[in-house]
Structure formats: structure tokens, C-alpha cells
């Protein structure tokens, strides 16, 4: 089933992106076209194929738990949009 405008609205909401009404048609069309192209993967038989998430096999990577210098609170907050009391400040979350 091709992607509908409703699908695009739903995906946009999941991705926290607002697609305004006047752009919805164009975005739906381009996504539909790409998804149609990707459909060719359905032709392949992949029943007994293992998925590859990383091309170079690396297992669980562990390192010694040693305290090392890192960014100070001040350095980290120097790039903050808004900071207060040594923390990033955000709009109201809970009333």
C-alpha cells in the first residue's frame, strides 16, 4: 500500500517534525517514490540470511573504569542555549 498523507502526518509526529499543509503533498509524493524504489528488496529471498548491523565484527567493547578528565560543567554549559544553576534550562515540563 503506497504511503498516504495520513501516514506522513503520523511519521512526522513520531519524528517531532511539523510538515505544514502546503508541503504535505510534495513530501508524500517524494517519500512514496523512494519507498516504491526500495520495494525491489522484496524480490530477494532472504529467509536464511543473517542481518548485518556492523560490517566489521566487534563484540562488546569494554575499557577499564578509570576516572579521567573530561569537560567541566562550565565548559559544557558554555554552549547551552539557556542555563540555570549549572544545568540546561528547558521550557516547562510539568505544571
Amino acid at each position: 500500500m503506497p504511503i498516504s498523507k495520513e501516514d506522513v502526518k503520523y511519521i512526522a509526529a513520531l519524528a517531532r517534525i511539523d510538515v505544514p499543509e502546503d508541503k504535505l503533498e510534495g513530501m508524500t509524493k517524494s517519500l512514496r517514490c523512494i519507498v516504491q524504489y526500495v520495494e525491489q528488496l522484496q524480490k530477494l529471498d532472504v529467509d536464511n540470511v543473517k542481518p548485518t548491523s556492523h560490517a566489521v565484527p566487534v563484540g562488546n567493547v569494554l575499557r577499564p573504569d578509570v576516572v579521567k578528565p573530561s569537560l567541566t560543567n562550565q565548559e559544557a554549559l558554555a554552549i547551552a542555549v539557556e542555563a540555570k544553576d549549572g544545568c540546561f534550562k528547558v521550557p516547562l515540563v510539568i505544571e
Partner: protein
């Protein structure tokens, strides 16, 4: 003698013999940027500090706008990161600085590296130095254009599906995507974490080996960095391909390949054969599915990676008008909607779709399985070949605006470069011709076994020593 037009190894020779200083070289390149960048528009801004002229490799370098460089504004060419001054250096930037690298400035790219033309940048496009009406390729378009226009001696880029090799090909220079895990990704702003690799864009193969020596190596801060010894890549610069086996995949020479590109790559093939290489016809039957698999895997990873750009900590924040309960989510949505360009939104949504409930198996899991099939194809061919050779791109550089409104046709320009990212193997693009009809550069791609960058350097060095293409320069004055 124009210092700005020299290779890094030629400059190092001059520094050593005292015929020129690093300071003179840096000034010459800055002068060149002032003279031609108003036309090329490779740079998004110049470095905030002068180099301190200490170290073994004081070479003027351009840095892609997605490599965290302490104190510089690094934005991925996106409005959402405007104002972000990196508080730290990426692993590669530490290495560049330690080696003496003289940072010229930050160069342009497609927004978040999503593109093959450098047109989706929030700063506007970079132009191809060979023809200012054409794109330089992408996403490392600023890196490639700056080197081709002598506005940098060499540059760093990143490659997720061809973003170093395709612009290197379009601009007539050398570009290498190393094996996944060879170069630390610490401090590279992530696009698709299982595919991204940082690599060099240089004027010739010797410079490529030199820059690889500087940036390669294990870094515990990147959990996918591989702890393999780093060879001296300049030792691989041997002018000899006798007995080496070069695989030619028949799928790469099928429909859609520009006849002039085909002819140049075939000429290169015949030359290598004459020099003693053994040419073998091979098959990579699943590579026609690579672009489709890539656009599932890469966008899925991107949609997750780009979730961090939400206006909470750094970069852009759009304050919601309301003080409702939903003020925080309103802020996320308004910031992301204003901060991201259309192509970034498209890819985030495509990835979100591929990962969403009910579609995961049909798209994401299937994409990963097809990735396995493509990797198996390459493993099979490498059992009996030292390198695989294809064109880098099916066409020469296209016109600015030509493909921007048709995302799928843009995606297909990466058809030859994507398999190496999916399989994690190294691949290089070297100049192999100039189109007679348009006078634009053509590149050939060599793919190698994992951690065998040396074989790629050896074959491309031999090719370079027996041709003149790497010496051709665009006329910009």
C-alpha cells in the same frame, strides 16, 4: 612558483630544504582563498586562530563542517547547529593538530551529509572549480572543491555512501574512504554510525598515504575503532602492479553509465593490463540492490542519530509561543521544523518509517539482510582478486539545480560507491580522464579488502605514475 598549487609532499620537501616556510605556504593558500573563493564558495568560515607552526606536517588543511574542532563553529551546514562552538576536538583533529596541521577553515557540505551535490547546505551551494555552473559533488563538496581549486593543500571529509569519493571524482582529485574502524569517528557528527568513516581528499596518491599516516589508528573513545597496527602507508607507494588481480564487475558497466566515463575507465583498465595486472571479469549479483538497502539502513540510523537535535542543549532553539503543558514537545517540534532543511526532514521521516511498528521487518531487517548478501558477494570476489575496479560515479558533475528536485535520481549517483560502505571495506577514487564534451573530470574507483588500504594505494600510485590526469587543474583566474 605558486606555493598554493603544490602537493603536501612537495611543500614538505621545500620546508626541509629551507626554500619555503610553512608560514609562507599558509599565507599563499589564504591568498588563494581570498582570490577564488568568492566564485567557488568552498569555505563556510575561516579558522578563528592562526597556526602555531610547530610539528612535522605543517600543511594548510580544510576541515569538513561535521568534524568537531575546538573553538570553531561546527554546524553540519544546518541551521539547527548555528552557533555551536565545539568545546572539544574530534579524535582526528587532535591528530591533525599534533602533527602540525595548519587549519585554514571549515568547508561546506550537504546538510548533515545528506546529499551528493553540496546543494542542501544552509550556506548555499559550493561550485565545481572546473565549471562553476556544475556541482562539486557531495556531501564533502567543500573539501573536494577547496583542494581542486588550490584553496587547501589537502582536506578531510567523511564518507557514508560515497561522500568522499564522488566529490573527489567530480573535482578531479584523490579521495579515500578507509576501512570501517581504521579512523576514529570520535567527534564526527554522526549520520549513519555503521557506515560513516573519515578520510583524506588530496591532490595525489602520495599525499593520500601521508594524510592516512596522520589520521589512522585506534581510539578507545570510538567503540567501533579497530585495534589493528597502522602501517606506514607511504611504503605502499610502489610503481608495480605485475601479477596483481583486478576484478571487473560486469554489473558496474550496465545501463545508466555515461559512455565517456565508460571509455575512460576502460582505458585505465587497459593501461593496468599493459603494466602487468591480471584482469578478471567478476560478478557482484546483489549490487544492483545496494542503493535500496542503503537508503533503508542509512536513514534508519540517521533518524535515530538526529534525535539529539532538539533545542534542549545547544544550537538553535525556537521558543514555543505557548506556556501549555506541552511546551517542551512544542519546542522540540518547532526547533526541528525550522532548523532542518527539506532533505534532512525527508530522510529522518524515511528512517522513522522503516523503523516504525509494522514495517521494521519488511524494511529495516530486510535492508540489513540484503547488506549481508552484498558483503558476501564482495567477500567471494576478494577470495581471488586483490582489488575491484569500477567507475566512481556513473556520470561527470551535473548542473547545479539539475537533480535537487528529484531525490531518487540524486541517490542513484552513489550507485558504485555505496557497496564499500555497506561492506565496511576501503575504497579510493583517482582521476582517470576528462570528458571531451564538457571538460569535466572522471574518476575511477578501486575497492579493497578490509584493512588493505596499502593495495589500493599501490595500484592507484602505479596508475598515477603512468598517467597525467592528476596534474590537470581547472582554470579559475
Amino acid at each position: 612558483m605558486n606555493l598554493h598549487s603544490l602537493t603536501a609532499h612537495a611543500l614538505l620537501d621545500l620546508f626541509k630544504s629551507g626554500k619555503a616556510s610553512a608560514k609562507e605556504a599558509y599565507k599563499a593558500v589564504v591568498g588563494r582563498i581570498k582570490a577564488v573563493d568568492p566564485k567557488v564558495k568552498a569555505y563556510v568560515h575561516m579558522a578563528s586562530h592562526q597556526p602555531d607552526y610547530r610539528g612535522e606536517f605543517q600543511i594548510p588543511i580544510g576541515i569538513k563542517d561535521n568534524l568537531c574542532t575546538k573553538g570553531e563553529e561546527i554546524t553540519c551546514a544546518s541551521r539547527i547547529l548555528k552557533g555551536f562552538r565545539s568545546p572539544y576536538d574530534a579524535g582526528v583533529m587532535e591528530k591533525i593538530k599534533k602533527s602540525g596541521g595548519a587549519i585554514l577553515g571549515i568547508v561546506n557540505m550537504d546538510e548533515f551529509a545528506f546529499g551528493s551535490s553540496c546543494e542542501t547546505s544552509c550556506y548555499g551551494p559550493t561550485f565545481n572549480p572546473w565549471n562553476l555552473e556544475c556541482v562539486p559533488g557531495g556531501s564533502s563538496g567543500g573539501s573536494a572543491a577547496s583542494v581542486a581549486a588550490d584553496e587547501a593543500v589537502w582536506a578531510l571529509g567523511s564518507d557514508t555512501g560515497g561522500s568522499i569519493r564522488q566529490p573527489a571524482s567530480f573535482c578531479g582529485i584523490v579521495g579515500l574512504k578507509p576501512t570501517y574502524g581504521r579512523v576514529s569517528r570520535y567527534g564526527l557528527i554522526a549520520f549513519a554510525s555503521s557506515l560513516d568513516q573519515i578520510g583524506p581528499l588530496t591532490k595525489d596518491v602520495r599525499d593520500c598515504a601521508l594524510l592516512m599516516n596522520i589520521i589512522s589508528g585506534y581510539d578507545e573513545r570510538d567503540s567501533t575503532s579497530v585495534n589493528e597496527p597502522v602501517p606506514d602507508y607511504t611504503k605502499a607507494l610502489v610503481n608495480d602492479v605485475r601479477g596483481l588481480k583486478i576484478g571487473i564487475p560486469q554489473e558496474a558497466f550496465a545501463e545508466g553509465l555515461d559512455p565517456e566515463v565508460r571509455r575512460s575507465v576502460e582505458d585505465a583498465l587497459n593501461l593496468l593490463k599493459k603494466l602487468g595486472a591480471v584482469i578478471k571479469e567478476v560478478s557482484l549479483p546483489h549490487t544492483p540492490y545496494a542503493v535500496a538497502a542503503y537508503y533503508i539502513v542509512a536513514t534508519a540510523e540517521a533518524s535515530s542519530n538526529l534525535a539529539r537535535f532538539d533545542g534542549v542543549r545547544y544550537g538553535l532553539r525556537v521558543q514555543p509561543a505557548s506556556v501549555r503543558k506541552t511546551a517542551l514537545t512544542d519546542m522540540y517540534e518547532e526547533t526541528r521544523s525550522l532548523g532542518f532543511g527539506d532533505e534532512v526532514k525527508r530522510r529522518i521521516m524515511l528512517g522513522t518509517y522503516a523503523l516504525s511498528s509494522g514495517y521494521y521487518d519488511a524494511y529495516y531487517l530486510r535492508g540489513q539482510k540484503v547488506r549481508t548478501l552484498i558483503k558476501n558477494d564482495l567477500d567471494e570476489v576478494f577470495k581471488d582478486c586483490d582489488v575491484i575496479m569500477t567507475p566512481t560515479s556513473p556520470t561527470v558533475a551535473f548542473k547545479v539545480g539539475e537533480k535537487i528536485s528529484d531525490p531518487l535520481s540524486m541517490y542513484l549517483s552513489d550507485i558504485y560507491t555505496i557497496p564499500a560502505n555497506l561492506a565496511g571495506i576501503p575504497a579510493i577514487s583517482v582521476p582517470c580522464g576528462l570528458s571531451k564534451s564538457s571538460c569535466l573530470p572522471i574518476g575511477l574507483q578501486l575497492m579493497g579488502k578490509a584493512f588493505d588500504e596499502e593495495m589500493l594505494l599501490r595500484v592507484s600510485y602505479t596508475y598515477e605514475q603512468n598517467t597525467q590526469w592528476h596534474l590537470k587543474k581547472p582554470k579559475l583566474d
